[in-house]
């Protein structure tokens, strides 16, 4: 065994493991699934993307400068914001900025709470902790936020008659859209709650598996995983709430009018 516990894998090992994805391709050919081309492209992309990230992280870890870590975090936030918006069926002018602000607030608050308050890393920007933790926050918050956005925009678009009926009877903008807002945040949070519910039963969570493979005692890996799951649930709740509030702010005027025309369906 390696001194950290995990056996280091070389390119040769990775090349051998590609036999597994080749097997998946053979299944596709044999059953005429017509997936072999997509499988090859996806596998190649994944290898290139992950090795690129690996080289970037190696560089960032080696330099260990606050500005470099901050630049990496900003890049991650921008990429995550774009991804959250592109998953939604509807959009409005400014949705990209709103998604960025949402992820920036969510990522900063939850990651800072865990790295500074719980793990107490030194220095505060230690990239070995900050980057993977923020990556996990974004990976989960993205799903929640895009579900929340999608549902909220669909509700405001398709239930505009009902919302305007409430407004015409004296509801504030907040009262008129409270139900869609609540449903959207709820919808965004459900995947994270489901993941927590089955963690350790259906599958071992990725971070915990990684730590055990790297040689950590299982209970330490479990403690980290629990902290991470709590962090992800908070990130998802916070992200969905901020996203919903920003949508509310964009699509309702100060005069308690719904600007449903601002919602555009993607082609």
């Amino acid at each position: 065994m390696h001194e950290l516990g995990a056996k280091p894998l070389g390119l040769e090992d990775v090349a051998w493991s590609s036999a597994l994805v080749v097997f998946a391709g053979v299944v596709s050919v044999a059953l005429r699934l017509d997936l072999e081309r997509r499988l090859a492209v996806a596998a190649s992309r994944m290898v290139v993307q992950l090795f690129a990230v690996g080289y970037v992280l190696t560089y960032v870890f080696a330099i260990e400068r606050a500005w470099l870590v901050a630049a990496a975090l900003l890049g991650m936030t921008i990429a995550a914001g774009r991804s959250a918006v592109h998953r939604s069926q509807r959009k409005y002018q400014g949705v990209q900025l709103d998604a960025f602000v949402t992820l920036l607030c969510t990522g900063t608050l939850t990651t800072a709470f865990v790295t500074q308050g719980i793990i107490q890393i030194e220095p505060w920007y230690n990239p070995r902790y900050v980057i993977p933790l923020l990556g996990m926050v974004f990976g989960n918050a993205l799903t929640g936020i895009s579900l929340c956005l999608d549902h909220l925009l669909e509700s405001l678009d398709e239930r505009r008659d009902r919302i305007e009926m409430a407004l015409s009877l004296g509801a504030t903008a907040w009262e008129a859209c409270r139900q869609p807002l609540r449903e959207s945040v709820r919808r965004g949070m459900i995947p994270t709650i489901n993941t927590m519910t089955v963690a350790g039963i259906v599958s071992l969570p990725g971070m915990m598996t990684g730590q055990i493979l790297a040689g950590s005692p299982p209970l330490i890996a479990v403690a980290y995983q629990v902290v991470v799951m709590f962090m992800l649930s908070a990130a998802c709740a916070l992200g969905c709430m901020i996203a919903a509030l920003l949508v509310h702010r964009r699509l309702f005027t100060d005069l308690h009018q719904l600007n449903a025309a601002a919602i555009v369906r993607r082609d």
Binding site: M165, A166, S168, L169, T172, H256, Q257, L258
Partner: protein, 221 residues
């Protein structure tokens, strides 16, 4: 362009020099009107002339491109929009129901922060009877017919005791006898001081209900 009030008084609902468009098509411009206590203004015109848009502008659910709407000389902003909309109540052509029963729909507006009184259950029962709605208030509103939903929407608005009621074709799905009941209730309210702006395609209804008529034309792009 249109002037429906000879009086200068600012009492009641006053629209001054309104303009609105639908995309590139101009609906109306230079439109001024006044509806005082007990008056009923019928808005008539071809489909697409902007009648519903006018009512939405009066309710301040949408902003006109130009012009100003006041109630008793005050802007909607000075009342606060929710309070203004409880005094100038708009009922859309398509009766939209909240999820829940008829009674929950009737009590809906009394849950809002702008409500100043409790849900008047007895008045609701009287109106259900007066408008010929012989259904159990515990019936799920979504299961009601279009005509029943129209009357629920009208009662929901009347329960707010509006100073001005904006109705967009309120009787289009109703039979003759029920239309008579609805018009009788509207007349009773007018006698009590309520102003009415009524969009209708029925000339006979206009002649029965309205004290004045505003005709909107269709403008080219």
């Amino acid at each position: 362009m249109y002037m429906c009030a000879a009086r200068e008084a600012s009492a009641g609902l006053v629209a001054d020099d309104l303009a609105a468009s639908a995309g590139p098509r101009r609906l109306f411009h230079g439109l001024s009107l006044r509806v005082g206590a007990g008056e009923a203004l019928a808005v008539v015109g071809a489909s697409g002339a902007g009648k519903s848009t006018l009512l939405r502008c009066l309710a301040r659910l949408q902003e006109p491109e130009h012009g100003r709407v006041t109630l008793d000389g005050r802007s909607a902003e000075s009342f606060g929009l929710p309070t203004y909309r409880r005094r100038v109540v708009y009922v859309a052509q398509r009766a939209v129901m909240q999820a829940g029963t008829i009674e929950e729909n009737l009590a809906f507006a009394f849950r809002f922060a702008s409500a100043t009184s409790a849900y008047p259950r007895e008045e609701a029962a009287r109106l259900l009877d007066a408008l010929g709605l012989a259904v159990d208030p515990a019936t799920v509103a979504a299961r009601c017919s279009e005509g029943e939903r129209q009357r629920v929407a009208l009662i929901r608005a009347l329960l707010l005791q509006p100073q001005i009621l904006l109705l967009d074709e309120p009787t289009s799905g109703l039979d003759g006898a029920t239309v008579t009941r609805v018009e009788a209730e509207l007349r009773a309210r007018q006698s009590g001081g309520m102003g009415l702006v009524l969009v209708s395609h029925d000339p006979l209804q206009v002649s029965r209900v309205a004290t004045r008529t505003l005709s909107l034309g269709v403008h080219d792009a």
